[in-house]
Every structure is written in C-alpha cells, then in structure tokens.
C-alpha cells in the first residue's frame, strides 16, 4: 500500500518545503517506496481488467456473430454500465464486494465491455461477402472459416478496440483510489488532500506516460499482426 509522504520540516529539502512543482530529490527518494509500487499496481489493475474484459467481450462477440439476437441485449447492458459515472459504479459495488481490489476490477472490466464488444463484433462482420462465398465454395467448414478467415481479418478492429480500452482503463484506474489505495491514484489523491505538488506531478506524469506508452506499443503490435494491411502496391 502506498503512503503519502508528509513533508517533514527540518528533514525535507528546501524544494519540498517550498512545495515547488517538481522536486527531483523527492522523486528519487520515493521512487522505490511509493511511485514504483503504485505504477506496478496500476499496470496489474489494467492488465487484469482489460484481459478479463477482452475474454468476456470476445465470447460475447462470437455468440452475437453466430446468433443475431444476442447483440442488442449485450450492447445495451454494456452501454448502461459505460454511462454510469465511475465513482458511482465503484460505490454501488462496495456493499457487495467491499472496499477491495475486486470491486475496482469488476467496475474496470465493466467499462471495457462496450468498446471491446462493439469492435470485436464489427471486426468479425467486416469480412467481404465474396471472401466468405469463396471460402464456403472451396469447402471450408464454418469453424474453419471463422478461425482461418474471419478472425484474422477482424484483427485490425479488435486491436483498435484494445487500444482504446487499455488507454481508458489506465485513466480510469486512477479513480480506484477512492475505494482502495491501489495504483497511481493513491499517491495523487493523497497528495491532493495534502496539497503536495511534486507527488501529484510525478504520479500524474507516470499515469499519462503509461497510457501513451501502452498505446504506442499496441500500434506496433497491430502493425505486426496485420502485415497485409500495410502492403503497398508493387509497380
């Protein structure tokens, strides 16, 4: 658990005492005890939430692809969850799962469902009809068509959804601090209450930086798994 650092008069540096915007010495000192654990927790929160959300939404999308009438209820439900303000959703879960990481994870998973479900489904549906006809005419079974044709072709949309989900979850996970002091939200909230600027800036920068880095990595991943999308016409 991350503890907000109380500027200790007499022992702290001038920078901290004056509450300047960014004190490198404080950051260096508190990287190990405060910032790094918070960062790692934050990554864990995100990975679990997006991972679970992805599995759930992929299953839902595969079902909706096969059975038309699944789409509307799932889309509606995930949209309702998405519309509920995060702080409220956390609070609504607290009576059921307490002030724990579980509460936070359930909410975060819920928030990823809408974007992941819609993108997964749109991706599955994006196969050109003539490709489907050719596959069927050549003697591929439905399953073979799904695994060898539809899913690979759905990858661009799927990864695009993952990008949005990951970035949104990293941002949303900071609000988790209102429930349990996990992730980068903890130091930010604590520092906010004490008006300690360096910590706010440091933790905030980490959160934003993490989101941007994750986004860039996913863009690279997308290019790697879809070589045909960037193939240029050979003259």
């Amino acid at each position: 658990m991350a503890e907000p650092v109380i500027p200790d008069f007499g022992e702290a540096s001038d920078c901290v005492a004056e509450n300047r915007l960014f004190c490198t010495d404080w950051v260096r000192e508190n990287w190990d005890p405060v910032l790094q654990p918070a960062l790692v927790e934050h990554i864990k929160l995100t990975v679990i939430a997006v991972g679970l959300g992805f599995v759930l939404s992929l299953v839902a999308a595969l079902l909706a692809h096969r059975f038309r009438h699944v789409e509307r209820p799932v889309a509606f439900l995930s949209a309702v969850i998405y519309t509920i303000p995060s702080l409220a959703l956390f609070q609504l879960l607290v009576p059921v799962t307490g002030l724990t990481v579980t509460t936070v994870e359930i909410a975060l998973v819920g928030y990823t469902l809408l974007i992941l479900f819609r993108n997964n489904l749109a991706g599955l549906r994006s196969t050109p009809p003539e490709v489907l006809e050719a596959a069927r005419g050549m003697g591929l079974t439905s399953n073979q068509t799904l695994w060898r044709v539809e899913l690979p072709l759905a990858l661009p949309a799927i990864v695009a959804g993952l990008r949005i989900a990951v970035v949104s979850t990293i941002a949303l996970a900071t609000v988790a601090a209102f429930v349990v002091s996990e992730g980068l939200g903890g130091p930010i909230l604590g520092a906010l209450r004490l008006d300690f600027r360096t910590e706010i800036i440091a933790a905030g920068a980490l959160a934003v930086g993490l989101a941007i880095l994750a986004d860039a990595l996913l863009v690279l991943a997308q290019r790697a798994v879809t070589p045909w999308a960037s193939a240029r016409r050979v003259t």
Binding site: E130, V131, A134, A135, M138, T226, W228
Partner: protein
C-alpha cells in the same frame, strides 16, 4: 508429384430448385449431360437460373427435386464440405483471402486435404507458372497489391490447386476491363487445352460463351433449358425465337468466327490479287478484310508455300 486426375462427367437429371414463396422455380426440370473434359457454358438473361443451376453441383444451393450426378455419383451422397473440396470454384469478385499471401491462398485446399508442405509448395509454384504469374515474384504478395486480372489468375490457380476433376466458374471475368477479359479468356482456353477439366462456366455474354464453350446451354426466365448444343449448332439452328434473339441477329457472322481459314477447303489462288491473310485468321475477320478493302476475295497463305483463295461466294456456301 501427384498423378493428374481424370476429368468427370456431370449429369443433370430433372434437377429442380424451388424457393419457398415463389411461384416459378429458379431451375425447372433441367436435364443435360456434360461430357468429361468439356467446357459447358450456362448462358441466359438475369434471373434465368444459370448461377443457381451451377450451384446445385457444389450444393451451395440444395436441390428441391431431381438429381445432379458427378462421375456417376449423386452430389447428395457426399457430405457437402468433402464434395466442395473436390470442385474448383471461381467467382466474379474472386474472393481472395486478403490476409494471406498469394501462395497461402493457392495452398488453401491442399492444406485442408492434408498435403505435405513440400507437395503444396511444388504445386503452388507449378500453378502460378501455369497462370502466367511467375512464382518467384508473386508468391509473397498480398491481394491488395495485385491488379484485377492478376487477382483472377490467382483465383484460377487457387481453384486448380488440389487438381479437382471439375470446375465451376461464375462469371469469372465479368468484373474485368475488356482487354484483360479477352486475355484471360484465351488463357483459360490455353490452360484447358493442357488440363482438360470438366468446366461449368456461367456467363451472360453470348460471345464469351461461343469463344470459351464446347457446349452451350441457354436457360430462359424461370430456369428452363431452351437449347443445349455446340456453338455451331446453336448459331446455325436456334431452337426458337427466344434463342434466336438471344444469340443475336448477327449469328451468321458469329458462326464465321468459329472457323479459321486453314480449317476449310479452298481453291488454289491462281494468281488472284487481294488482301493476304494467314491460315489462323477466322472467316469473320476474312470477311471484314474483304469489306474494308472493297475486294470480293482474299488470298490465304497456307504455310506450305502455296496460296489459296476465298471468295465471297465460297464464304456464303460455307455458311449454308
């Protein structure tokens, strides 16, 4: 290296397809036999049921009554997936898998059938060369990098990959520009010369059917067979007004394009002066040359040193 497969005969036996809620059938009591190794063109107006009839063979459309037999066995005897893996299927928009390279596309059915990697690779290269796309250059390209004509060639190669004894082609060249279309029609003839598959070729273009087909089946609205004959017979003796109108008022001229100069008996030239043509020229082009030059005869180079002549009168005689 696998031994090439023999082509098979296709029989339509009172084949009928009725869609629920429609009064007229899509295919109505179709009976005809397509001999092994021949190209049968299904021609007709839109809604004439030609594509539906073709799809009865690989069961993309299921029969309502009657039967379709491939190599003596009913198409309903096999499970449909197994059936389709033994039939080459080429469609107008090709349907190349965008996420696979050319080689991977061609290898699709061999892979499904469990061929070894070495066999598959050999076969892929062989086919790409056959369709005039040098394997070295084209193996690793993606569909988005190919022109329309190149894509359809890959489609052809892909359909031929597992060496199916029969092929179904649904307006395969319809989406191409006229020049590419002509080129691919001739490619198909060349490949067919080599491979001798049984092919059902659907088209709405009677000229294409005449060029490509060994036999032509004309279906009218409601999926009824109007006439099933060789191109010569069809053009010379259309069964009724509908067929006559469909083949066109210029069927006389069309018939002329079926024969080349070296296929007919001609008188020696005897010093006649006129446009000089070689033996490969069609009678139609010969007539065109006469009209253009204002001559009443052309001189033919027989290739063995002698010259023959073709007069307008002789031409008319040949048409009778």
């Amino acid at each position: 290296m696998r031994a090439p497969r023999q082509a098979v005969e296709i029989v339509f036996d009172h084949a009928t397809k009725r869609y629920p809620g429609r009064t007229t059938p899509a295919v109505d009591d179709l009976s005809m036999t397509i001999p092994a190794g021949e190209v049968c063109c299904l021609v007709g107006p839109s809604g004439g049921g030609k594509t539906t009839a073709m799809k009865l063979v690989n069961r993309l459309v299921e029969l309502t009554s009657g039967d379709v037999r491939v190599d003596g066995k009913s198409v309903t005897a096999l499970d449909e997936t197994t059936l389709r893996r033994g039939i080459g299927y080429v469609i107008q928009q090709v349907g190349l898998f965008p996420h696979m390279t050319v080689a991977e596309n061609v290898a699709t059915v061999p892979k499904l059938l469990g061929w070894s990697k070495r066999e598959t690779d050999e076969r892929t290269d062989e086919l790409l060369d056959l369709v005039d796309l040098p394997a070295r250059d084209y193996r690793s390209r993606y569909a988005s990098q190919l022109s329309g004509g190149e894509r359809q060639r890959v489609g052809l190669a892909r359909a031929l990959a597992a060496d199916p004894p029969l092929m179904l082609m649904d307006e395969p060249f319809g989406a191409l520009d006229p020049i590419t279309r002509t080129r691919l029609q001739n490619e198909l003839l060349r490949i067919q010369d080599e491979l001798r598959k049984t092919i059902i070729f659907v088209t709405h273009d009677i000229d294409e059917a005449i060029l490509v087909g060994d036999r032509i089946a004309i279906l009218r609205e409601g999926g009824v067979l109007a006439q099933y004959d060789t191109p010569e017979q069809l053009l010379a003796h259309p069964a009724d007004d509908f067929v006559a109108r469909f083949v066109g008022a210029d069927r006389g001229l069309k018939r002329l394009s079926l024969t080349t100069l070296d296929e007919v008996e001609l008188e020696p030239a005897n010093g006649l002066v006129g446009p000089l043509l070689d033996g490969q020229t069609t009678l139609r082009d010969a007539l065109s040359a006469m009209l253009t030059d204002g001559a009443r005869a052309v001189v033919v180079d027989s290739g063995d040193g002698t010259r023959k002549q073709l007069t307008l009168d002789r031409l008319a005689e040949l048409l009778r």
